[in-house]
């Protein structure tokens, strides 16, 4: 006895309309693989390259009332970005991170499209020039990669260092943006 797609869609629409969903999420295809997207009423709260882990993690942070629902605006802006037509995102964000992380992510958001910055350089911008390693940790835990462009942050020797989606993805994003690496 299975629920028809129509009945399923009616339930999801009714749940969204009733305002009882804490987190909408979706898994969408992209040129760099499937992306997990999640948003609260406040804004986009997670982009992840590993959908299975992300679902439980987001539930712990933002609430268990999570339902898969289309996130049309987020998806459209990401599509435009991947087509090279969009250089900045106009999405409201819901960041629930520690104060230092928030300050770093705020500065990160200002690193322009197609440019790179070093971990140390970003640390200096938040007034903590010696905190390159701590900035690395913040990048590593960036809840909203791509939109918050941690792929633009590289090692002081010009190496790509690391990326949640894997180094080939980091390189692909920088290539898409036409960034030239100092080397």
């Amino acid at each position: 006895m299975s629920v028809t797609p129509d009945l399923d869609a009616r339930f999801r629409a009714a749940a969204a309309a009733a305002g009882i969903v804490d987190v909408r999420f979706d898994i969408v295809p992209s040129p760099i693989g499937d992306l997990f997207l999640a948003a609260t009423a406040k804004g986009l709260c997670r982009i992840s390259f590993t959908p299975d882990q992300a679902e439980d993690d987001v539930a712990r942070t933002f609430g268990v009332r999570m339902l898969r629902l289309p996130l049309d605006t987020v998806r459209r802006e990401l599509d435009e970005y991947f087509e090279g037509k969009r250089h900045t995102f106009d999405l409201p964000l819901d960041l629930r991170v520690a104060e230092f992380n928030e300050a770093v992510l705020h500065e990160l958001a200002r690193v322009p499209y197609g440019r790179v910055e070093t971990y140390g350089g970003l640390a200096a911008k938040v007034g903590r020039p010696k905190a390159a390693r701590a900035v690395g940790t913040v990048m590593n835990r960036n809840p909203i990669p791509i939109v918050l462009p941690c792929h633009r942050i590289i090692g002081s020797n010009g190496s790509l260092t690391g990326y949640a989606g894997g180094l080939p993805v980091k390189r692909a994003l920088l290539d898409l943006e036409g960034a030239t690496l100092p080397l």
Binding site: V3, L7, A15, I20, D56, A59, G63, V64, L67
Partner: protein, 166 residues
């Protein structure tokens, strides 16, 4: 021995796991009205989901909501009133199994639609879905003895009509 309390899964996982079985149950219980009652059941579950204290017995919990919603529908009470009613987020502590015979039930399951609503719910929950009498009692808003009595009276009635048919 200490057992870790099961954490509450994201609602989507809960929904994917229980959407089909609950609809099947409601088809048996309320026939034509099943889809409406099903939607109301999951909306109530979602509304109360963030107030659950742990993730155990979620199956019994959603069947309880489904049963109560179905009983309201069968009693013809206003759907609006039922939708507004707050959902009980208390999860039962369930004692060990007492065994059941699903095969025997499947043979006579098609006859359950002739039973009175309470007996139908008790029989289907017990033998079709393996719920315990404590859970069925909670779903029916009755005592455990009354749930047991409703199920056995339902089974007797089913056997009689099965013999008549045979």
């Amino acid at each position: 021995m200490m057992q870790a309390v099961q954490s509450i899964p994201p609602f989507e996982s809960f929904y994917c796991e229980h959407a089909d079985p609950v609809l099947g149950y409601l088809r048996r219980l309320v026939g034509q009205q099943a889809e409406d009652v099903w939607q109301e059941t999951f909306l109530k579950a979602l509304r109360g989901y963030d107030r659950l204290s742990h993730g155990e017995h979620l199956r019994a919990w959603v069947f309880t909501i489904a049963t109560r919603t179905a009983m309201d529908a069968l009693r013809g009470s206003s759907r609006d009133a039922a939708a507004r009613a707050d959902v009980d987020v208390t999860l039962l502590e369930v004692p060990g199994h007492d065994g059941f015979d699903q095969a025997a039930f499947e043979e006579i399951a098609h006859l359950t639609h002739d039973l009175p609503p309470k007996e139908r719910a008790a029989v289907v929950l017990r033998y079709g879905y393996d719920l315990h009498y404590a859970e069925i009692a909670d779903a029916l808003g009755s005592s455990e003895e009354a749930a047991r009595a409703a199920a056995s009276s339902g089974v007797r009635r089913l056997r009689r009509s099965h013999e008549r048919d045979a």
